[in-house]
Symmetry: C2
Subunit: 387 residues, 2 copies
C-alpha cells in the first residue's frame, strides 16, 4: 500500500445556513480545500452525509455534488454509516489512494439540518438507530444516550454534575475556533441550571442541530510533487480502521462499553505501531457528555468508570494527558452529522500542522479522530502523523 498524505483541508463555520442548500455548503467546503492543495486533477469525490434523503428528499449525492463543484464525470459516491458517514467517506478516499486506484481524492462531509423543525430532525435522526427495535418506540439518539448516562451514574456512582467537565472543556476550547458554532465558555453554574433535553442529559450535554461542511484532499505521497502544489506541512494517514457493534443497545453484552470504538481504535494502534500514550490530540465523538466518557474508556485513555476523574484532574485539557475536543468538539464546534467526521479530521490536521491558533496543542505530532455512528454501533478511527 502507498503512503497517503493530506494535501488540502477546509471547513466552513458550523452554523444555520437558511439561504444555502446542501450542494452550496459542499461547494463552499470543497473549493478552498482544492485550492490549498493545488492539485492538477481530481480522480474521485466521496461524500459523507447522514440525513439528506430524509430531510431534503435528496439521495445520489456523489453525482449531485461532483457536477456542482465542477468535477462532472469523475468517480463520485456517497458513503453512509449513520453519524459516522464523514469518516467512512474518508476511508473510501484513503482506500482508493493507498490501494493505487486513485492518486487524488477529495472527501466532503456535508449536512443541512436547520431548514427543518427540531421534531423532523429528531425523527429523521432516529434512522441511525435500529428502527424496528428502538426507533419504533420513539427513541431518538439523545434518548438512548440519556439511558446510557443514567446507567453510568448508577454503575460507577457518579453524580450528574460530574459530567459538566466535558461541555465546559469543549466550550472553552471553541472560543478559539473561528469555525465553531458556539464560541462561548460556559460555567459549572450554567451547566447545573440548564434545562433537561432527555433526563439526565441537559442542554449543555447534547450537541446542536446545525449545518456544516468540511473537505479534505488526499494524495498519494509519491505523487505529491507531480500532482499537488502546496506549501503546507504534510500530514500522513498512519491508520484507518472501521468496526461495528450491535445497532440496538439492548443487544450488547455491556451497554457501557463501546465495543466498536475499542476494536477500531486498537486496530488503528496496531496499524500505526502506536499506543494510546503516543496520541497527542484525540478528536472524539462527544455527541453527548456520556459518549465522551465512554469513548475515552473504550480507546484506552481511562479505565472503566474513570473517564470523568481523568477529565476532572485536567487530563483532557490542552496540556493534559490526552487533549480532546480541542476545537470545541461536537458539543461546541457543532455536530452537522455526516460532516462531523470530516471536521474532526480537518481539526486534527490543523493541530498537526501547527495551524490551530488559540486552540493549538503544543508539539502535537500524532492525532487521532474517531467518528461514531448511532450509539457507537459504527466506529471509524483514523490516526495521523506529521511527516
Amino acid at each position: 500500500m502507498r503512503d497517503v498524505v493530506i494535501a488540502g483541508i477546509n471547513a466552513i463555520r458550523v452554523s444555520e445556513y437558511w439561504e444555502r442548500s446542501l450542494r452550496h455548503l459542499a461547494h463552499d467546503a470543497i473549493m478552498p480545500a482544492l485550492e490549498e492543495a493545488g492539485v492538477a486533477r481530481v480522480d474521485a469525490l466521496v461524500v459523507g452525509n447522514t440525513l439528506a434523503p430524509l430531510l431534503a428528499g435528496q439521495g445520489h449525492l456523489g453525482a449531485l455534488i461532483a457536477d456542482f463543484v465542477g468535477l462532472r464525470g469523475v468517480e463520485a459516491v456517497h458513503v453512509d454509516a449513520g453519524d459516522a458517514s464523514g469518516a467512512a467517506a474518508f476511508r473510501w478516499g484513503y482506500m482508493a489512494v493507498a490501494g493505487g486506484l486513485a492518486d487524488v481524492v477529495v472527501v466532503v462531509g456535508v449536512e443541512q439540518m436547520s431548514e427543518r423543525s427540531a421534531e423532523e430532525v429528531n425523527e429523521a435522526h432516529a434512522s441511525v438507530l435500529d428502527q424496528e427495535y428502538e426507533g419504533i418506540h420513539g427513541l431518538t439518539p439523545n434518548a438512548v444516550q440519556a439511558l446510557l448516562m443514567r446507567r453510568y451514574m448508577h454503575e460507577f456512582d457518579v453524580p450528574r454534575e460530574a459530567f459538566a467537565v466535558f461541555p465546559i472543556t469543549a466550550h472553552a476550547n471553541a472560543v478559539g475556533n473561528p469555525n465553531a458554532m458556539f464560541r462561548r465558555a460556559i460555567s459549572e453554574k450554567a451547566y447545573a441550571k440548564a434545562g433537561p433535553v432527555a433526563d439526565p442529559l441537559n442542554m449543555f450535554d447534547v450537541s446542536p442541530i446545525c449545518d456544516g461542511a468540511a473537505a479534505v484532499v488526499l494524495c498519494a505521497a509519491d505523487k505529491m510533487g507531480e500532482l499537488a502544489k502546496t506549501d503546507k506541512p504534510l500530514v500522513r494517514v498512519l491508520a484507518s480502521a472501521v468496526a461495528t457493534d450491535a445497532l440496538a443497545v439492548h443487544d450488547r453484552k455491556d451497554p457501557l462499553f463501546l465495543e466498536a470504538a475499542y476494536l477500531s481504535s486498537h486496530a488503528a494502534y496496531t496499524q500505526a505501531g502506536l499506543t494510546p500514550q503516543d496520541v497527542d490530540v484525540f478528536e472524539l465523538h462527544d455527541s453527548t457528555s456520556i459518549m465522551a466518557a465512554l469513548s475515552l474508556e473504550a480507546c484506552g485513555f481511562a479505565a472503566r468508570g474513570q473517564a470523568i476523574r481523568l477529565a476532572q484532574e485536567g487530563g483532557i485539557g490542552r496540556d493534559g494527558l490526552i487533549p480532546i475536543s480541542t476545537m470545541g468538539g461536537l458539543k461546541a464546534r457543532g455536530n452537522p452529522l455526516g460532516a462531523t467526521g470530516v471536521y474532526q479530521i480537518v481539526e486534527v490536521v490543523q493541530q498537526l500542522r501547527g495551524e490551530a491558533g488559540e486552540c493549538q496543542v503544543p508539539n502535537a505530532r500524532v492525532g487521532m479522530a474517531q467518528n461514531l455512528g448511532g450509539t457507537g454501533a459504527t466506529a471509524v478511527t483514523h490516526i495521523f502523523g506529521r511527516v
Copy 2:
C-alpha cells in the same frame, strides 16, 4: 494491486416479501453466498441500498446487517449512488481487496419496496434525481426516462413499437431464471396493447416495484487456498470503474448520450485491455427500454440511434453479437434498486461459471455488468473473466 476473485454468490428470487424486512432479505442472500465460498473469516461487509431511509426510516445499514448475519464487529458500511448503489458497494469491496486492506469482503445489495404504496415508492425514488430541479416539479425516474424516449423517437425517427424488442428479449430470457420476478414471455401484441405508465413508456417498458437481495463474496486471489474452500470455477474482476454525469438531465449537453456510461465502460475496457468486441455477456441497466438502447450506444455496442436496429437483427439475443439481460434484466428479473447492481454481478458470474442453466450464453468467457443511478448520472461498470 492484487487480483480479486469471486469466491461465492447468491441471490434470492426477486418478488414481494411482505413478511420479511430488510435485514431478513439481506440475511437470506448472504448466508448461502458465504457457505458457497467456504470462507474462514470475513473482513468487511458492504451494503448497497437506495431507499431504506425513506421507505423504512432505516439508515446505518452496515452495522445493522453485519450484526444480524453474525458478523458483529467487522467493518461495515453502506454505499449510496442512487440506483447504482449495489455496484458501488461492490466497488468498495473490490478496492479493499485489490488494495490489500482486506482479504475477504462480502457485498450485499438489498431493497424492500413492496411494503409501501406505489405512490410512496415513486416519491421516494425521485430522491435519485435532482430534487431541486427535477423532483420538485413532480418528475420521477420513469417520467424522465419517458421524456428521453420521446426525444429518441423524434431524433432517430423510431416508432414507439420498435422498443418492444427489449422487453420481449428480457422476458423471454427470464423464463429460464428461477430468481426472476416475471418468468413469462410476452408478445409484440401484448406490448402494443399495454397501458401507459408515463407516455410513451408503457407497462412493459418499465421495471417493477419489488424486493430482493443478492450477495457476492470477494477474495484476494493469492489467499483463496488459505481462506476460501470452494470448488466453483473461479471468476476474476478484470476492471472496475465509476463515472458521473450531471444529475439533472437538462444540464447535459446531449440528453440522449449517457456520458457516465461511456466514461466508465471505456475506462473499464482500458483497465481490462479489452474492447466491446471481447465482451460475451453484458448485463446492462434496462430500468426502461430506452435505457437499454442508450446503454448499448454509450458502451460502444451500437452507433448512435442504431441500438434498436442491432436488437431487431438479433444482436442482443443469446447467440447475438452482444447478449444482454440474459437472466431477464431489470425488466423481467426485477429491479430492486440498491440490490440490482449485485444481481447483475451474480448473473455475470453465473454465466462465466457456466451455471446459468437455460439462460446460459455459450462459451461466455468475458462478462460486463453496468449499473446506472438516476438517469444515468452515475455509472458503475465491472468486467469479469473466467480464470
